[in-house]
Each structure stands twice: as C-alpha cells, then as structure tokens.
Amino acid sequence: MTAPHEGPQEAPIVPPEPGTIADLFREALPDIEFVASQGPVDVMLTIDRKDVLQVLRTAKDDPQLDLKYLRCLLGVDHEEAGLEVVYQLYSFTHGHGVTLKTRLPQDDPRVASAASVWKGADWLERETAEMFGIVFEGHPNPVPLLLPDDMTDHHPLRKDNPLAQVEEWQGSRLGAAAANVGHVPAGYESIAGEGGEPEGPSGESGG
C-alpha cells in the first residue's frame, strides 16, 4: 500500500509493441521525434511543440493514417513540469486511434492552433485557452467560451487556483436577523452590520 501523503507519481513509459500505429507515424514522418508509450487503450505519442501543426496535418491527410476525426482536445496542468495539450484522434476508415501529447513550458505556454486543420478544434481550443491560459497561435477567434467576460483573468483549471469557500450566512441581513434573535452569534460580530446593503452577487472569497 502506498503511503497516505505520497505526492503525484508519473506513469512508467511502456514502449508499444511493433505493428501499432506508432510505426505508421514513424513511416509518414521520418524526421520527427516521437516518444511512444502504450497506454491502457491507445498508443500515446509525445511530440515537441514546434512540430505540432505538421504532425496534425499529416495525421489527417496521410492515407495510411487517415485520422480525420478529432475526438478530444484538452489541457493538463503538470505544475512545475509545464502544461500539456493532448489531442485524441480516430480514423473511421481504418478504425485506429492515437493520443498525441505535447508539453509546454509554464512561463511560455504557446502552441500552434489546430483550427486550420479541423473546424471542430475552434471551440475546443477556446475552452482550453481560457481554462489554462494556453495561447493558441493562429486561432481565428480567441474569445473566451465558457467563462463570464469579467472573470477571465484567472484560469480555473490550473492547480494553483483554489476552490471557493462556502459562505456561511446566505444573504446578508445579519443586522436585522440579529435584531430578531436578540444577539449576534459568537464569532460573527465582525460581519454583523446595521441591516445594511446586501452583498453583490459576486461575494467570492477564493480564487
């Protein structure tokens, strides 16, 4: 059994057996470096961020790969090891899929946009950008997708962004409520007002 407070561990890299899609990639792109690993379901290929656009284009256009279906595009925050963008691809004709990953340094999270390759990547990249702060260069419309316009300065899915605290008293008419009860409960004297104005809707205390 592992110790209770063990930090995050990385998965061991298991090289894939010959005959998988990793070989097809190596054939189609002989001068790109891949670090191949066999995951539980798919083969995972890690590439450098400068090769991303070339690899994605070839993956889509090459007749042997024919990975025309972009299933998923997401970001992962690995704290000091940087940010990671993951592309999950699938081919209808051949029935094979692959996971492509690329690491970005934490202080310079920029990568080429896949919106020119797949039209569906547009919105997925907008969401990843606003959740992690990754900049996709060449994106036609880099506008936040899910977050409200006035709350786009901090990125929710980064690990250093904490969760909000649960606010104990709903509403704020603590002064009036105290007048009914007769006393202010212990510990709440500092926020007991005169029955003054209500808090705004953005009564946030975390993040």
Binding site: P8, P40, L74, Y90, F92, T99, W118, G120, L124
Partner: protein, 374 residues
C-alpha cells in the same frame, strides 16, 4: 427576384437575441442571430451560462464521490455517463465487472437512451409547433421507465447506481417482469408518436431539407451520434469501437441520407426501437451471479496512468480522459462533451435559413446544457 423598388430600399441587418431565458432554447443557451429580413445571415452562439466546474470539482473528490458529477453533467442520459466514468476508472484500476453487472448496466443504459430520445421528441416537436401534445405523450411514456429506475435506485433522476467494478446493489425480484412490460409499452408509445408526427405534412415541411450538413463537414466539425449517422455515415461506437459487452447483441444502426433535420428525427426514432431489441436480448441472456468483483477494494487507489474511454451516449460520443498520478483523487478529469462538438456546426447549419428554422435546427441538435458547459 428583386424588384426596382426593393433595390432602392435601404435595409439594415438587425441582431435578434435568442436567450438565455427562452422557451425554445432547451436550457440557458444564447444565440445572437443577425437577420436580413427573415433570412439569417450570421449566428453567434454564447454558451457558458451553466458552467459549474464539474471538471475542477472532480479533482477534489475521490473516485466514488466523483460519480455524482457525471449524473448532473448529462442529466438526461445519466446511466450512459456513469458507465463511461466507471469504465475509465476500471480500466486504470484493473477491475473487471462481473457478467451480471455488465448486463444490468447495458439494460439500464439502453432504457436511459429510450427516455432521452423521448425527451428529444417531446421538446423537438414543441419546437416545430406541436405545442404540448407530443410533449405530454413523451413524458407519459418516460414516466413508466422512470418508475423502474426509481424503484431500483431510489432516485428519479440522479441515480448514482454504478460503481467502478460493478453496480452497488442487485436488482429487485420483479425487475425482469417490469422491464419486459415496459419494452412492450415502449413499442406502443413509439408507434403512437410515429402516427402523430412522422407522416404529418406540416411536420415534414418544417423539417425536410432544413439544416443540412454534408458528411465531410460533419466529420471535420467532430459531430457524432445521430447527427453523424443522419449524414449517412454508419458509425456507432457500440458496433465499430465496442465497449463492455455490446458485441453480444444484434441490433441495426439506422442512418439517414440527406443530413437534414428530418433524418435526425427518423434516426432517433429508429434507435429507440433498436434499444428495445437490445434490452430484450439482454434480459434473456442475463446470468445470475455477483455484482461486484470479490476483491474490490474499499478505497480506490489508482496507479498512475492516462486513459480515454468513450461511450455512445444518446447525443453522441461522450468521453472521459482521466489522468491519474496515484492516489485517491483524479489528477485531471476531462469530459468530452458530445453536445459541444455538435454545437460547433450550428452556424453552418443555420445560416441561410429563416428565423423560425433556426429554432428547429437548434432543437434537432438535442443539446443538454449541463454537458455543453459542464
């Protein structure tokens, strides 16, 4: 034909704001239509009004608690979402659910597909103008199946019944009878709604050749599910990329030809009938036995690794990308939402049609805002 008089008129394009509170947007969805006369020239969809942070909150709870967020994300096809999550966790943990649990999961997932498609028919028919009739039919039929779920799990909507490894408790003694009865009732219900809508001239006029999307475009946008099958591509994850024990059942994959709204409706109607077939076969083949593996650990601690599991939800491909770095909580849980990818093609489908068709096209995408925004 533009007459001389019309050519001299100066017109401007107006922006029509549809939503976020609107009876026809199936939730809090906002789209700004730029219309020139009655024709839509541009659509800008705004989403995010239901963004509740299910992915962030899943990182702070352990693997058994994280199941509740899946229910509430896809709140019309809960069992399918739970199944995807449980399969992802099982794949990393190395758990294999026993046979009986697999059959129970398949039966419940397919029944949930039927309820979800009923909801689609009710809401979509309301969009086309059948104000209320099909909606009440659909909800009446849905309630029969929901009563079975209620008796089984204790909740009408947020079941929380699957666990990584199996299901939480065994089905009651009358389960097989009730499900058999409900299969017969569903067949009657589908035929009822069929008679009401499918050959109805007004319905066909409102739906034929509206919102057409071609097959290469559909693949490029990442559409999946009935939207992709209506374009003519017979791709169903249960058949082409099978998971769980779907390879033991015989069922057809309905496809459309035109890629328009009417084909999507027909595909979903036929899918309900195929789901009934699957449920009946599963009921016959279901063995007795345990419902959780014997050595299932009480606290799930997963080894480090990453996996992407996908299921065929009623709306398309629902996927979960799970990153685990050891420990009891996921490091990153990404939900691949079918409705979000289906919505990316909205602009291409709506531009060029009338304003009234915009609502019908949006209804045919069958969005669930909890899944779009997570």
């Amino acid at each position: 034909m533009v007459t001389e008089q019309e050519r001299k008129l100066e017109t401007i394009d107006i922006n029509v704001n549809v939503g976020p509170q609107h009876p026809a947007t199936h939730g809090v969805f906002r789209m700004v239509l730029t219309v020139s006369g009655e024709r839509v020239v541009d659509v800008v969809p705004h989403i995010g009004y239901m963004h509740r942070g299910a992915e962030k909150l899943s990182e702070n709870v352990d693997y058994r608690q994280g199941l509740i967020y899946q229910d509430r994300t896809e709140y019309l096809a809960q069992f399918n979402a739970e199944m995807c999550y449980c399969m992802a966790v099982e794949r990393l943990a190395g758990l294999e659910p026993p046979e009986r649990a697999q059959y129970i999961r398949i039966i419940l997932s397919e029944l949930n597909r039927i309820t979800s498609h009923y909801m689609f028919i009710g809401a979509f028919a309301t969009d086309t103008g059948v104000y209320g009739t099909a909606f009440t039919y659909a909800f009446r039929e849905r309630e029969y199946i929901q009563e079975i779920f209620d008796a089984l799990t204790g909740d009408r909507m947020m079941y929380g019944y699957f666990r990584p490894g199996g299901v939480v408790w065994d089905v009651p003694a009358d389960f097989k009878e009730r499900v058999r009865w409900v299969c017969g009732q569903t067949r009657v219900g589908i035929d009822d709604i069929d008679r009401l809508l499918t050959t109805n001239e007004i319905f066909i006029t409102r739906c034929r050749d509206i919102g057409v999307i071609s097959r290469p475009d559909a693949i490029d946008y990442g559409l999946s599910g009935p939207m992709l099958r209506a374009c003519g591509l017979p791709f169903d994850l249960r058949r082409n990329d099978p998971y769980s024990i779907y390879d033991r059942f015989e069922f057809d994959i309905p496809t459309g030809t035109h890629g328009d709204v009417y084909d999507r409706y027909l595909v979903r109607m036929e899918e309900m009938r195929q789901s009934v077939r699957i449920v009946e076969q599963a009921l016959e083949q279901m063995p007795d036995g345990p419902i959780m593996p014997e050595k299932a650990p009480r606290r799930l601690r997963l080894p480090p690794g990453e996996v992407y599991m996908r299921t065929e939800n009623p709306r398309g491909e629902y996927g979960i990308y799970l990153v685990s770095k050891g420990g009891e909580k996921p490091y990153r849980l990404k939900i691949r939402s079918a409705c979000l990818s289906n919505l990316t093609a909205l602009k291409q489908m709506i531009v060029g049609h009338y304003v009234a068709d915009a609502v019908v096209i949006l209804g045919s995408v069958d969005i669930v805002l909890g899944e779009v925004d997570r």
